[in-house]
Amino acid sequence: MEVFISAVGFGVVTASLLAISAVGFTLQFSVTNVLNLAFGSVMTGSGFVAYGLNSSGMNIWLAMIIAALCGGVISVLMNTLLYGPFIRHGMTLFGMVIVTISTAVISDHIIEAAVGPSFFSYNAPAGKALHIADLLLTRQDLTIIGIAALVTLVTQLTLQRTRLGKSMRGLSVNASLARACGIPTRRVVTLAWFGSGVMAGLGGVALFLETSTFSATTGSDFLIVVIAAAVVGGIGSARGAVLGALVVGIVTEVGAAYWDPELKDVLAFAVLIVVLLVRPQGLFSQLSTERVVVG
């Protein structure tokens, strides 16, 4: 039983890492319908901003906040300068996927050219794990769980209780109708990209803290699991992204504890397939099926 509880605890940490990024990924997708496969590059870019600040002596958590804001700016610039022109000229959903893949590949190469083919670590030791009941967690783990909870709560409250959130939800259901109703779509879209970039930044730094080392491709390497969590939860749903992250995180850790650790990914993606067989739209999806990209 102790092993199981520990594994669940470890799974919650992994889920928190996934949730921060998955909520950001799904928030932007739900508003704009752009499957941004350069999200991992934003995570990496922000992670390196935090690295630069941390290396010059700044506390890692403060560096994380600044890096997250930079992630927001990078994300907005990515949309304004790269994606926007394609969307305005009627690029299809599939076409945009190709554009975002191109952006991811180019961005990763630019980062690699800038930082070199090496590995980097923050100056932020995680310390020894604390025994909390049968759970083994470091202070860093607890902080990341807290950040994930806060990000989810703020996103959920923004979507449910604010004018901006209502506008975002309106856009996600029917962009043309939202525009006709007077919703300033461009501003809402820009804010969605900014929020998504901020969460990519937070997720990137959190991931790099947990992996203890990172390179120019670490963010992109992690993206497939982030997308898996978002898809399991139901792409477009913040609640779903968190639930998807919990499913993926806990399944992989419990699987590693009781099964062959080599196959932890296999187990996670088997769950993904089963969920999609039963609920093709994911656990919580609220998106319309006939959607166009919004810029």
Partner: protein
Amino acid sequence: MKKRDRRIAVGGLVAIALTTAAWGGSSSSSTAQASSASASRGALEIAIFHTYSGANAAYGPEAAAGCFPAQKLINAAGGVLGQQIQCTPVDAKGDPADSVPAANRLIASSSSLVGVLGGGSTDATAVVPLFQQAKIPIFSTTGQDSFDHSTASYFWRILSPDGAQGNAMAAGAKKLGYSKVATLFGNDAAAQGSAPTAISGAKRLHLTLTASQTLAIGQPSYRSEVQQLIAGNPQAIITEADPQTSATYFAELSQLGKIPVLITDPVSQEPTWRTAVGGAIGKALLDKQDYAVVAYSPPTTLAYRTYTAALVASSKQVPQPAQWDADLYSVADYDSVVIMALAMDAAHTTKPSVYNGFITKVTSPSRGAVIVHSYAAGKAALANGQHIQYVGAVGPTVFDRWHNSGQGFAIERVANGKWTVTTLLTAAEINAAAGG
């Protein structure tokens, strides 16, 4: 087509072109550039056909740290048969889907290509046949056992295969006095090469295996695996995994328990591995706990000193050259280029299909052969009509009929910032692990 539509089409084409450039263009462009440069100077091209981008982007610079010092010394000695040597980086990307077209482009575009450094564990099986067909010698760093009895006559391997490495790691654990060990290997092709013999070797040597883990590489966490490992309380971990996986695993091990002695392989001597793992758990702790089982190449030999001096002098092509001076793969690549150059001199031709047959003639011990430790000395001896045996920076290279050469093994660890030999492993000790 309307003007606006044309703009979209142009934008799309630019995106595709940029993508193509980022995915594969770098190799072709660098190849073409170097080829034209080579042609204009009549230089002989040695391709550094390794990974320069992605997660294993350090493999290319690692091989370059062997090639460029050799190029420097060979050209300083007047070149090969009056022609200069030119090392050309080509991004193989490490994945057969990319490295096969890159190899085909290289073969098709370069008329002056005389040799290749390349074919790592992930793509050797795909690209070696291409260079075999093109009759270009390829000196590979793959450890895969599928090449232990390879009939590819243009394939050459200086460093010991993974199977021998795994046995040596098990023998190393025994020699260091540990009886309770765990094995920990990544699930990639490179790490899996030595895993089976490390495990079987440990069993043959009657070591207690407390855990035998194969890790899915590149995961954000290995805490459950770490907890299982801690439960077995091993005295030492026999391990090989990529830098990212090793760093994450050992950082979590240090959070949840204590890091025991690590029995590693030459991968742990690579600068990227040490940067990643040292950054994760602390350089001092890594240096204290890490024992690397590596091919024995005494750092005091004339050949090694010649290499390191040329390495330092190659800082224009090899940034931060000192980081590679203990990297066995770089040292082996240096020897590979020198061997190819000496074989060309011995054959009196730079034609790859001819000089390939002279590679064993300049490396094998034979009666009356003059032992040489540098290209210049070998060239001079050959000019005097003498037979030579090149004993390079990795020590004697004696190829078997399958073009494999194995060295003895040593256990090394970092002392005062330098790798130093702790003890040598005898053939009997390794044979005991191998069941021979």
